[in-house]
């Protein structure tokens, strides 16, 4: 008793605390920090407001509609103000958006919490709503923790790792704490005896909530940031990209935007990384022959990527700092670190890796700081690196699903999905070109309408392939099978699973590599500037020396053939490089040189850069492409290709006259990384199916109808239509019975009017029992509608009285009967709750119980 009393004493603070936490858990997933604070405050105040409202003398409906009305009003008002320009002018667009956002979060949580609280005060049963709110918020916050993914709510597991705790224990503790708090709340609420059953119900409730959330969450791991192709990493910088590490070059179009440095800078920063190690394991196919799966495996060795990222980050920053010494680089470094390292590495340090995108604010911030001070960054990176090595992290998280419309088989044996290219040498590495006349064959923005590349690939040796990409995770830009021709928007086939989708049309290579021998390289249409752009490499003479040494080792007949030279370089690299994601070549000025003339161990970004530098030294126009790489055999005959985080890749390309950019990937023969996980076929199939379930969009070709189940379809449709018709008919009857007294004549008014009122009584749960006579029923109803007695009398009289022509009798009094009906309805309204009436009115078969 004492315990209960003390719990009761603190029940209001306890509830405010629980609901505030719930608001925090809910909003922190998507709202800005100020908004989170606002909604927490809102819900705490909402408890007080709801308590007050609940004890006020207004009727519950009034309270609820007032709350809902105010909420709506605020939303409308803010929307109106936002639309107008005066406020934006006064505060600036950013500030005004933020301010209104805060207001909205505040008001919404205030309204919801106070409405529920008021309901609970009025009727204890509604405490279920409150509990559901708290349980749902907790379940939502931990929703990512599913299928045993203990690292999933990254913000949580990061912290846990850092603090040296097992996230599982942390999760269990949170769950247990939530249940205890809820139990206390429930306990405090009951004034009388607490039923044990209600306490038992709590875990059940929690379980149900978790199960419900689970169904909608499926196996959609947040992309570990591995793939920098995604938003996280945002900075598209190259190197990282490879595996998580640095990501994509693309400028920070990403949300973090701010955090990222300008692209250029970013690029620079990354380049160094790239240079440090460019080895691409992956590329298997690179080999003319076609890749070997083994290499892929290496690639997959996702873990490596994360580590790379770290390395890259380090490398880049270092490099940048030294070279540019520019502020911009500092930033880049920061970016890299932030984008890639920050996100991922940070994770690594902590023990986990990257955070989900939302982390936006958080994750970006740290990197920036890092950027500010180059040194510190480096250091941290180093640390990270060392730590990383301990942490294997193959990221097989699904990133996207590609559905090919055509049965296309690439000569290289692997599909290359190009997201961006790096062709501009900034002194340390290759970055995305800032020229307007180079690399015009890539589309960098998501299409909002059909978009064509400015410079499409030649038609020779290529075939049109169309397809559709559904992104599981937000990316920095679209990617498509090389070489993309045009992109078009597409409706999202399954919004709960995919973040967006688009269609692509590509001209993909069909010409075998052997046929390219003797072809000339470079595009005659290029201006000398552009040609020089594609040939510019490091000034380090060792590159040219190595390149010529390789060429000199070729048979004489082939020495003059540029494509043969390129292949020779590729084969040399294949043979002499070792794939390892642990060797990041960070912190050196030219990571590529460090690799090529050092331990010859690195990963795809390093490999790609090595090849490009060597080719350029030989006068062969080349660049690095980045995106995803997937072995053809991963398709397993299906049209769906599942791209995973570990499929992120960078590869070297050369321009062959008449054929355009040809991917000539490096496939290192030795691999130090553990093999990656094989593609999860079930997942691939499932996501493929989901991506396929699309509504028609005009851009899509008409889908072939699946005729296999017409009967089932017909049956379902027929049932649905019949059901709909039946429902319509029922409502028609219902409404007819309601309004027909308005047309009734003297002889029928008593019957029809009575029947109509009977229906109204059915709505609120008053129906005559078969053992009741009408009079007894009328007595019962008289509790809420005394006028019903008179109506009953008239009805019975009309039926059982001796038939006569005396139309002055009351049962033939149309106006009087209608007046009584009005009175009865008024009495019903006054004595029943709105919800009861509404539910009754919605019920299509309520009149069946009128008798």
């Amino acid at each position: 008793m004492k315990f209960r009393a003390s719990v009761r004493a603190i029940r209001h603070p306890l509830r405010a605390f629980a609901l505030g936490l719930a608001a925090l858990a809910l909003t922190s997933q998507f709202a800005m920090s100020e908004a989170v604070v606002a909604s927490v405050i809102g819900s705490v105040l909402g408890v007080a407001l709801g308590e007050w409202l609940g004890r006020s003398k207004w009727r519950t409906e009034v309270v609820l509609s007032a709350v809902a009305g105010s909420l709506l009003l605020v939303w409308l008002l803010t929307a109106l103000l936002l639309r107008g320009e005066s406020v934006a002018d006064a505060l600036g667009p950013g500030t005004s958006l933020r301010t209104f956002g805060i207001i909205r979060y505040f008001v919404t949580s205030l309204a919801v919490v106070s409405a529920v609280r008021a309901l609970v005060v009025r009727k204890q049963t509604f405490i279920v709503l409150e509990l559901v709110m708290v349980v749902g918020a907790v379940a939502f916050a931990l929703a990512a923790h599913r299928d045993g993914v203990i690292a999933r709510p990254l913000w949580l597991s990061d912290w846990a790792w850092q603090a040296g705790l097992d996230p599982v224990h942390v999760l269990l503790a949170i769950g247990g704490l939530a249940i205890v708090v809820l139990a206390l709340l429930l306990l405090a609420e009951r004034e009388g005896e607490v039923s044990i059953a209600s306490l038992v119900a709590l875990p059940v409730l929690a379980l149900i909530a978790v199960l419900i959330f689970t169904t909608s969450a499926l196996p959609q791991p947040k992309p570990a940031s591995d793939i920098n192709l995604t938003d996280h990493g945002e900075s598209p910088q190259t190197p990282p990209q490879v595996r998580d590490a640095g990501v994509p070059h693309q400028p920070g179009s990403g949300p973090d935007g701010g955090a990222r440095p300008q692209e250029g800078d970013g690029g620079a920063g990354q380049n160094p990384d790239a240079s440090s190690g460019q080895q691409d394991p992956h590329t298997t196919d690179a080999g003319i022959d076609g890749g070997s799966s083994a290499r892929d495996a290496a690639v997959d060795g996702g873990g490596s990527s994360a580590r790379d990222a770290g390395t890259d980050g380090g490398g880049s920053s270092g490099g940048d700092a030294s070279v540019d010494g520019g502020a911009s680089q500092g930033r880049d470094a920061a970016t890299d670190a932030g984008g890639s390292a920050g996100a991922q590495d940070g994770g690594i340090d902590g023990g986990t890796q990257q955070r989900p995108p939302d982390g936006g604010n958080g994750s970006n911030a740290p990197p920036s700081d890092g950027g500010a001070s180059g040194q510190s960054q480096r250091q941290s990176e180093t640390d990270q690196e060392s730590q990383r090595n301990d942490i294997p992290q193959p990221s097989s998280a699904p990133m996207a699903v590609v559905l090919l419309d055509n049965d296309y088989s690439p000569p290289s044996g692997a599909y290359y999905f190009r997201q961006g290219v790096w062709s501009e040498f900034n002194g340390h590495r290759l970055i995305e070109s800032s020229r307007t006349d180079a690399d015009q064959d890539v589309i960098r923005e998501y299409p909002t309408q059909q978009v064509r590349v400015r410079e499409s690939a030649p038609t020779r040796g290529r075939v049109i392939v169309t397809g559709r990409v559904a992104l599981v995770v937000e990316h920095n830009g679209p990617f498509a099978l090389e070489s993309e021709e045009s992109l078009a928007p597409s409706s999202n086939p399954n919004a709960s699973r995919f973040v967006r989708a688009f269609r692509f049309t590509s001209r993909s290579q069909t010409v075998p590599y052997q046929q390219l021998l003797h072809a000339r390289v470079g595009n005659p249409a290029w201006t000398p500037d552009v040609r020089a752009h594609y040939l510019k490499g490091p000034t380090d003479p060792r590159y040219a020396a190595l390149a010529h040494e390789i060429v000199n080792g070729m048979p004489e007949a082939r020495r003059a053939d540029p494509f043969a030279q390129a292949v020779a370089v590729k084969l040399y690299l294949d043979h002499n490089l070792t794939y390892s994601t642990r060797h990041r070549h960070a912190g050196v000025d030219d990571p590529v040189a460090d690799l090529l003339f050092g331990d010859r161990t690195g990963y795809c970004v390093h490999f790609a850069h090595s090849a490009v530098y060597l080719w350029r030294a030989l006068g062969i126009p080349a660049r690095v492409g980045n995106g995803y790489h997937s072995d053809e055999q991963n398709r397993r005959g299906g049209s769906a290709i599942l791209l995973r985080g570990s499929d992120a890749h960078a590869w070297p390309e050369i321009y062959v006259e008449g054929y355009g950019w040809i991917v000539l990937d490096i496939a290192a023969e030795r691999n130090l990384d553990p093999p990656g996980q094989p593609t999860d076929e079930d997942l691939q199939r499932m996501l493929g199916e989901m991506a396929r379930e699309e509504q028609e969009d005009p851009a899509d070709p008409p889908p072939k109808k699946d005729d296999s189940l017409p009967w089932l379809k017909i049956f379902l449709w027929t049932s649905a239509i019949l059901l709909g018709l039946a429902l319509l008919a029922l409502y028609f009857v219902k409404i007819w019975r309601l309004v027909v007294p308005s047309f009734a004549k003297q002889k029928t008014i008593a019957r029809l009017g009575y029947r109509s009122i009977l229906d109204s009584l059915s709505h609120v749960g008053y129906t005559r029992d078969v053992t009741e006579t009408r009079e007894v029923f009328a007595e019962r109803v008289a509790q809420i509608a005394p006028s019903f007695r008179e109506l009953t009398t008239r009805n019975i009289a009309a039926a059982l009285r001796a038939s006569g022509d005396d139309l002055s009798r009351p049962e033939f009094d149309v106006a009087g009967t209608r007046a009584i009906m009005r009175a009865v309805r008024k009495e019903i309204r006054a004595n029943t709750t709105f919800w009861k009436r509404l539910l009754g009115a919605i019920n299509p078969i309520s009149f069946f119980s009128s008798k």
Partner: protein
């Protein structure tokens, strides 16, 4: 029968106009009801039932414990009625206390030799009255009971082979004690059938009982005596009016037949409701409708009266104790059908 206006005036100080419509009949009901309610507290339901029986020309059997007001009730009823034909030998109210040694002639009357005229003349027994209270009717011998039986069924009495008519207003209120059955002669079912209603009186409510105690003195002093009464003729006329002007819909008759049929087919019942009970029920329904200010019979009337009418007529199978439940079950569906009728036409 033509009312004797002169006599009525003499007794009631008013010239009672003949009753020709339901308003007049209802006025009779009101007067009887008011007087009886003034005399007996807490028995409104029973009073209502007795009035219905009176107007339906039936007899009632009150079953209750001693001291619960049976006699008071009967006397109050007798007190309501004015004999407007004082010249005949029939009086307003008689009470017969049945005992095992009672003889039929004690009930019916007997012929006596008059030495002055050298003739036998008939000395009327207590049944020659408008209202007869047959107290503890189950305590007398079957011979006496059968004398009562004839009187109740035929409204006539045969003494010395001469049959004499009883008055048209001949209303028996019999009582019996449900317990204390030692030395009694339970009424045979044929005689039970003569009673329109068997009324099981319940103990009155606490408030009413308190009021009984409080008003005991004033009531004994005859506070209700100043209230208007009714004449015998008015009751006869009211009966005629009710019979002619209260409408019994064909569906109501169907309902009665259906209920009776169900009691006969119900396996809990050995002997179901008789046709006579249905015939008797019609005027009772009409009378009840009148007391509820209606000129038509409804399912409500059937529902309320079914228990009173059928309870003592059904012979239940061994082991079945609750006759009310049986009747309710049998009546539910026909009544529901009757109720639904009002939504259909």
């Amino acid at each position: 029968m033509e009312p004797d206006f002169e006599q009525s005036e003499h007794v009631t100080h008013t010239l009672a106009p003949p009753i020709t419509d339901l308003n007049g009949a209802f006025n009779v009901v009101q007067r009887v009801r008011a007087r009886m309610q003034a005399a007996v507290r807490g028995r409104d339901e029973v009073i209502e039932t007795i009035i219905i029986a009176l107007l339906a020309d039936g007899h009632v059997l009150l079953e209750d414990y001693p001291g619960s007001g049976k006699t008071t009730l009967a006397k109050a009823l007798g007190d309501c009625i004015i004999d407007d034909q004082p010249h005949d030998e029939i009086v307003t109210f008689r009470r017969i206390q049945f005992t095992p040694d009672l003889l039929p002639s004690d009930v019916t009357g007997t012929t006596i030799f008059d030495p002055n005229t050298n003739k036998f003349f008939f000395r009327a027994g207590p049944i020659f009255a408008h209202i007869v209270l047959a107290d503890e009717i189950n305590r007398t011998s079957p011979k006496v009971q059968s004398a009562m039986l004839e009187a109740m069924a035929e409204k006539q009495s045969t003494v010395d082979n001469r049959t004499r008519k009883l008055d048209q207003l001949f209303f028996v209120i019999a009582t019996q004690n449900p317990l204390d059955l030692a030395g009694t002669f339970p009424l045979p079912s044929a005689q039970l059938d003569r009673f329109l209603f068997k009324i099981r009186m319940k103990h009155i409510q606490r408030d009413a009982e308190l009021e009984v105690l409080a008003s005991y003195k004033t009531r004994r002093a005859g506070v209700g005596n100043a209230m208007p009464r009714v004449t015998r003729t008015e009751i006869i006329e009211a009966r005629n009016v009710i019979e002619n002007f209260v409408w019994v819909a064909p569906e109501v008759r169907e309902c009665l037949v259906d209920i009776a049929a169900r009691t006969r087919s119900d396996e809990r019942v050995l002997q179901g409701a008789s046709t006579r009970s249905l015939v008797l029920m019609i005027p009772a329904l009409q009378a009840r409708a009148l007391t509820r200010v209606r000129d038509y019979v409804t399912a409500e009337d059937v529902f309320e009266l079914a228990m009173l009418i059928f309870a003592h007529r059904l012979e239940l199978a061994p082991g079945i104790g609750n006759v009310d439940q049986v009747i309710r079950d049998c009546a539910a569906e026909p009544l529901d059908k009757l109720a639904r009728l009002t939504l259909r036409r």
